[in-house]
Amino acid sequence: MRFCARDIPARAGVGLKAPHYRDILEGGPDIGFFEIHAENYMGAGGPPHAYLTAIRERYPLSLHGVGLSIGSHGPLDKEHLARLKAVEQRYEPGLFSEHLAWSTHDTSYFNDLLPVPYDRETLARVCDHIDEVQVTVGRRMLLENPSTYVAFRQSTMSELDFLREVVRRTGCGLLLDVNNVYISAVNHETSPEAYLDDFPVEHVGEIHLGGHAPDIDDEGRPLLIDAHDRAVDTAVWGLYDRLLQRTGALPTLIEWDNDVPEWTELAAEAAAAERMLASHAEGPSHAATA
């Protein structure tokens, strides 16, 4: 096989950004895996595919969709799903994930991950869409927990009950974004520790870490923005450490999508995650749940 192994190791990876293509190919850094946004590799050809092919020959790859709009009431975009499948087949990624969010309405694409209410109607719609994705792409997907700024009065279940029910009905796995957990907990004034301790970690195939920006809401209360524009916050590292005590080492991605830093700064974030992973390499500490 021309590609390196498909499996994603329980190590730290980073989101692949075009400014780093040359650093990676010329420097050959010791990174567990790279993750791509599927939409950046849906063009017919050119430099993105040439660089990604060369990187995929050397590193495991994870495929992360950002535009499928699984939480839309409307049908999935069949053309987009076909493009996603083509990227999956071309690059043979070890993991494949998308978001619990919507981004498309009628013919408009909003380029943001918009929140869904947690009720029976949305649950049915999301599960239908995940079934369609898994059948079309021909593999299990991981669904990522969202970061949100608002809630919906019509929600009738908790986010965790919603995710648990999606997993039960569709057989999909979960991508646990610890930065999203922290953002949502601060924004909704709930406990991130309680959320993490109750998360169905047995279904988690990957962890995301990223940076957020602080703001305040109408009433002057803290509002965190999921900006992916800076280093991982200390509070998020703390939650990650707490999570690893339950799960043991899992593939962990550093997301840094805006104000992308020099390669060395991004690599240092991955190294910090690797150190934490190494300290939990012996597996979950059952004392924590006993």
């Binding site: 050119g46 535009g67 498309t104 380029n111 918009l114 608002v150 009065r153 009433e219």
Partner: protein, 257 residues
């Protein structure tokens, strides 16, 4: 309680209208006003699409300055939302929008510069193909040359302008200070190609854009040359063909029989 389709319709409408009320049932944890919280989504849409346009149209951004570009992008986004998550395709109408935007009527070259930037991006993402080896054309007997037809390379784009768009493009995408445009140098026609990984922009000689458009439309070499001479007396077939072959404009040739 709104059902999901109504909620998403209302949410979508409020995202793109700055003065719209926050949709019913969207709440803050206190149960209080969620105006600023909802505005985060509204802002994300505008800021992320503005960034996408700035990535795709850096010369326009440099010519106009960041502040003006951001305001202009907001107007464009309001009228042309992307219809696909493939943001490299977003902005196909940006050139036409600039042409028709009244406050920019004194800068009539902007539309063509934007079209050149869009062509550059579209060539960047075009399918890969090996360019035609010019030796294959040389091997054809002179008596049959007029009957040769060319297959355009997937990355080939042609832009003819009344304005010096190649000069403006290069001056404003080099990372140096934006330079005041010198419009006195006259119009430029540009051949956009990507023979391997790098997008190449070549200035075309007079009449060459008509000639290459005709070849791409399926005309024979003889037919396309005749058409170009008819439109432009000083058309030079040798120069036009050499420029196109050197730039990798074609992927194949066909001869009759």
């Amino acid at each position: 309680m709104p059902r999901l389709p109504d909620l998403q319709a209302e949410f979508s409408a409020a995202l793109t209208q700055p003065d719209a009320a926050v949709p019913d049932g969207v709440t803050a944890p206190s149960g209080g006003r969620a105006n600023k919280r909802f505005a985060v989504y509204r802002n994300n849409v505008t800021v992320s699409l503005t960034a996408a346009l700035e990535d795709s149209f850096p010369a326009i951004a440099k010519l106009l300055g960041d502040e003006y570009f951001a305001a202009l992008a907001r107007e464009f986004i309001r009228r042309h939302q992307p219809s696909s998550p493939l943001l490299a395709e977003y902005g196909a109408e940006f050139g036409d929008f600039l042409d028709a935007f009244p406050p920019l009527a004194a800068y009539p070259y902007l539309g063509d510069v934007a079209r050149l930037e869009h062509a550059w991006l579209s060539a960047y993402h075009a399918a890969d193909a090996a360019p035609l080896d010019p030796a294959r054309l040389s091997a054809i007997p002179e008596t049959s040359l007029g009957e040769v037809r060319f297959t355009p390379h997937p990355a080939l784009r042609i832009l003819a302008s009344r304005w010096p768009i190649l000069t403006l493009f290069k001056a404003n995408r080099t990372g140096e200070e934006g330079q005041p445009p010198d419009l006195s140098s006259g119009g430029e026609s540009v051949l956009v190609t990507r023979p391997s990984l790098n997008v190449t922009l070549s200035r075309l000689s007079p009449g060459a854009s008509d000639f290459l458009e005709a070849l791409c439309g399926g005309d024979t070499l003889g037919g396309a040359a005749a058409l170009a001479i008819e439109k432009t007396a000083e058309f030079d077939l040798g120069t036009a063909l050499q420029t196109a072959l050197a730039a990798g404009a074609f992927s194949d040739i066909r001869t009759p029989g």
